[in-house]
Symmetry: C2
Subunit: 634 residues, 2 copies
């Protein structure tokens, strides 16, 4: 086995067999996006491609055996991520059908729904959509306006869109293919609103015509994802049977009486949302997968393309320029870091979702990590794919070299499944309220109201969970020993942890100043600290990622691969510190002289890693022949 | 007049009448990009739209009166920039025809070429392309491989593509519409290569069929610019008359003897390129124009859209969130800064290009600034349009709201007319070699070889040119007076100047260490310092831009507008300092305590500017009805 193989095995993690299967099977399915198609043709092709996926077993993996699936959520998420290496439209289309729509049915529904829908939706005998977002409310889902009013007389729910802003919007599948929707609406019975619930609402007949009272329309062209038929839905008092309420977390009996295992309306809502965590795990993983493709393309190009040099006969490889190394290698290192973090997240999600009674605290933590990692990974993808495009110059701008398609397709990932700023705010909120509060709303005032007395032990608690991390931190050399202690993992971990703790503590201190009983004043305090709060979420995730990378290296069984990964990990750690260097200096975590060594250490790592560029690219495991970039074939 | 009007007048600068004319005339021409068209239809539409521009007088402005133009280069550049507010495909198509192709004819050709081509190309009776870049060489144009060999027997040049990598590539117009090309090739006569020259080469007959020996092909779909028919050209020993050499800077007589007014082959090449500076000025200005549209859309959306709040009845405007202000207002401030810099650049270019004997030193300076500002503006556009897209969430991803089109269309601007990294390197080189050397090549070793003994006076020289700047710097309060001195313009200017001087000096010191006679060693020294060198170009432009903003405010005649612009300028200056805070701290330009005030001063400015958001957007002068974003109409 080559070093590339060893690195790939380490990166592939627990669901390596799924990755290997996808690498083998997916290229044969001819999944690459075709720009010569019209919008209509591209969407039809997307649907046909989806049908080819059914036999791979990936769709069934996402569902429990008793419902007709094979009960392997880790496989489902990994498999979706592998699709992202081929065609993001297909990934999204599959994610909507099996992840979001199917996930809503399985996790919010009960046996009657499982029996009725799960087998059909796995096999695509039933195509659905996930109708949550409205024109007026995206980030603040709790405030959506669609109503589901129980009509005692007919024992039906009446689904209605009372205002223009209550229109369901951007819904994948709503423009054309979805026959039914998992529709989120305010459940009202006996004149009382019990908050947002999910309902199965038939949308189209078998010929694709809107059913009475349903008006769908088309979002048209987008920045990418041409194969996804995003659309809008308006409901004009559409009647559905009482049984169409997905009633795991809220039930209305024949007489119109509401009951729920979760009393608090906020907690109930966030419990429901929490069951849908897989969507965020998939989006983060898919963004990273697409990003790895882009970096593979740009990296391989930089290993072929020459420009300038000491003489025309000795033109220099792009990858041999310091600037080019600076542009690409830190992004590759960060992609490695996120892959290890994603593997860890997937494993935790798998464990929790295959346990009969998952721990509530652990579930909350998982949600926080999934939210934060989704934000971190999708922003990284946006930045890295852009850099990859630019690093390939004019060739990078041609669709035949795929980078612009990767860019356009993944661009919306920073928005869907939660706007990234809102997600980091959510992460911070979970930390600042010490996971202790029942009320998990996203409203700013709530954050102020429930700011914890202290956050001091949050970091420690989490760190203590991993003895390896603690050992490394304890063993770090003293601050003054040697400039090179910045290459020590314990020193890096300690810097990351220290920063997180400080940012969290100072954020908490600012929030606590507010008069909690005056909403306007509370909002003002929150608002003045908003960038600080979001930063808290971001630095928390930085730490989680470095820990995951560290743990991943420890699990690698090949020494040579471990050595290489250690350098990659240091490049990730040091470039992350470099990006925030003013903070470390201003807060006396790095003296001026020590701070100056960060950049030279980064440059030393670039020199050290340059000869391994191809190995690192091959480690991503995107077969060269499936990169789909014409310029690499010439 | 409203404050918005006063601000707009200040921003519009000297060619305000052109901007006002465009705002009035262009909307009627129905120029918005139409995503429902096929590639073929979009390209045909682009050509038709171009014909509508002829009567506006913008095309003729770019040419000298004696050649059939109206001799107003400032108008030409401003007019092209205004097109960018409507459709970037059209802007590029127009830029290729009248700027690049027409510019090559006028600036590299002589009277016989002017008489033969200029009137026709203004009126679109002759459609051309600019065939410089090849598959193998883009940044390093001097190394292109296409040959133009003089055949004494027939008194013709033979144009040939000797290798696959000598194929002309990404050429706007080459796929379909160009009838002739301004083709760059190595001029060889009597067995000697005299370097790159430009030739008029017929490509297609009137029916659009390739002429004998010419093989064009299509670059197909791209990341954007669907209306531009980018293509490739291969020449198989195509014969053209001797007169088709654009012979202002190099002539071959009937007997095959070469002569040129510029002896040095490198200097000759860069003199020729220098005459084409208008291309970079146009691209930078157009990127900024597109960016202003994106910020206008996202800014207006943020002033309409509400999400979250203390209660559902009191949802908060996006623009009232600190984070949203942080995201958009500094980008708006930077766009203001670049507009003033662009106005200054345009005026200088206009002056030099309407002078009979332009000063060589001034011309070199202009080229450096045009290169650097192009890089700065196009990167700003890429970043700001991306942020604008994300700041509009799902709506931002729909083509009907235009942001993704602006993103895709402008994406390649960081690449064409020179890769931005290479351009900043060029800027640095001009500074590091004190404009003194005849050899203006871009090769790294040349940079090392000619690194100036000292750069100490470069900054001073340039600063002395502007007495206002010097007065402000001299009048700045002492460093220790008061934290708020960071709001003092003189203090800001001094920090920018100081940083530039230091970065330049240390870069020069590093380069001087090299053994200039050992190319490999010289390359190694250059390479180790490459990020430092590029940084020198970047911080130079930062300073130029701050000075231009300062000068622009001084020229503004309305006091209220001046006051507002002062705050915007400080926001630009302080966010620029904030981005590089670690440098200012590490180099003892800002003590830790003073550094910490930067962020709070930025936040204070955000609070102060928030009420003026709409005024600042209106100051850009993009009429609301021509923004072309559906979401703003609901």
């Amino acid at each position: 086995m080559t070093l590339s193989d060893e690195v790939r095995i380490a990166l592939d993690g627990k669901w390596r067999h799924v990755r290997e299967q996808s690498r083998k099977e997916l290229p044969a399915l001819d999944l690459a996006y075709d720009h010569s198609l019209t919008l209509e043709q591209a969407r039809m092709r997307g649907l046909e491609q989806m049908r080819k996926l059914v036999p791979t077993g990936i769709p069934a993996a996402g569902f429990r055996p008793e419902n007709g699936g094979t009960g392997d959520p880790g496989m489902a998420v990994t498999g979706i991520g592998m699709l992202a290496q081929f065609d993001l439209s297909l990934m999204v289309k599959a994610g909507v059908q099996w992840g979001l729509f199917g996930g809503a049915i399985e996790n919010l529904g009960t046996k009657k729904h499982h029996d009725l829908y799960v087998r059909d939706l796995i096999n695509l005998d039933l195509i659905g959509c996930f109708a949550m977002t409205e024109t007026g409310h995206g980030s603040d889902v709790q405030s959506i306006e669609t109503t589901a009013t129980y009509d005692l007389a007919t024992q039906e729910f009446v689904i209605n869109s009372p205002t223009p802003s209550s229109r369901k919007d951007y819904i994948g599948g709503a423009a054309l293919h979805a026959e039914v929707g998992a529709v989120f609406a305010q459940l009202i019975t006996k004149g009382e609103n019990h908050g947002v619930h999910c309902f199965v609402v038939p949308l189209r007949d078998k010929k694709g015509k809107d059913l009475p009272g349903v008006t769908t329309s088309d979002c048209g062209h987008k920045g990418g994802l041409g194969g996804v038929d995003n659309g809008r839905i308006m409901f004009d008092n559409v009647r559905i049977p009482r049984d169409n309420l997905l009633n795991k977390y809220g039930q209305v009996d024949e007489g119109g009486t509401y009951s729920s295992p979760v009393d608090n309306i906020n907690r109930r809502f966030f419990t429901m949302l929490g069951t849908l965590v897989r969507g965020r795990v998939s989006v983060g993983g898919s963004a990273s997968a697409a990003c790895e493709v882009a970096l593979s393309i740009a990296g391989r190009y930089a290993l072929e393309r020459r420009q300038f040099g000491a003489s025309p006969e000795e033109e220099v490889l792009l990858m041999d320029y310091r600037m080019h190394q600076r542009r690409l290698l830190p992004l590759i290192a960060k992609s490695y870091a996120y892959r290890f973090a994603q593997n860890q997240l997937t494993a935790r999600m798998h464990r929790l979702q295959t346990t009969d009674a998952p721990d509530a605290q652990e579930s909350r933590e998982l949600e926080g990590r999934a939210a934060g990692l989704k934000a971190a990974q999708t922003w990284h993808a946006t930045k890295a794919i852009q850099e990859a495009r630019e690093a390939c110059g004019g060739a990078g701008y041609l669709a035949e070299n795929r980078l612009t398609t990767l860019k356009g397709d993944t661009d919306v990932f920073t928005t869907f499944e939660g706007d990234n700023h809102v997600l980091f705010q959510l992460v911070a909120k979970e930390l600042l309220t010490s996971y202790a509060q029942e009320v998990g709303g996203l409203d700013p005032v709530g954050l102020v109201r429930f700011a914890a007395g202290t956050v001091a032990d949050v970091v420690k608690e989490r760190t203590a969970a991993s003895q390896l991390i603690q050992r490394l931190i304890d063993a770090r050399p003293g601050k003054s020993d040697d400039d090179h202690d910045l290459l020590d993992r314990g020193a890096q971990l300690s810097l990351f942890e220290d920063r997180e703790q400080h940012v969290l503590e100072t954020a908490a201190r600012r929030l606590r100043r507010a008069d909690k009983n005056d909403p306007a004043a509370a909002f003002a305090v929150f608002n003045a600290a908003q960038d600080h709060v979001i930063r808290a979420g971001r630095v928390h995730i930085d730490r989680i990622v470095l820990e995951a990378f560290t743990a991943g290296i420890a699990r690698c069984e090949n020494e040579e691969a471990q050595d290489l990964l250690r350098d990659v990990c240091s490049l990730y750690a040091l470039t992350t510190i470099e990006e925030d260097l003013a903070w470390f200096m201003g807060h006396n975590r790095l003296a001026d002289t020590r701070a100056k060594t960060v950049t030279s250490l980064v440059n030393e790592l670039l020199v050290k890693l340059r000869p391994h560029t191809l190995t690192l690219i091959e480690g991503f495991g995107v077969p060269e022949e499936s990169l789909g970039a014409e310029m690499l074939n010439s």
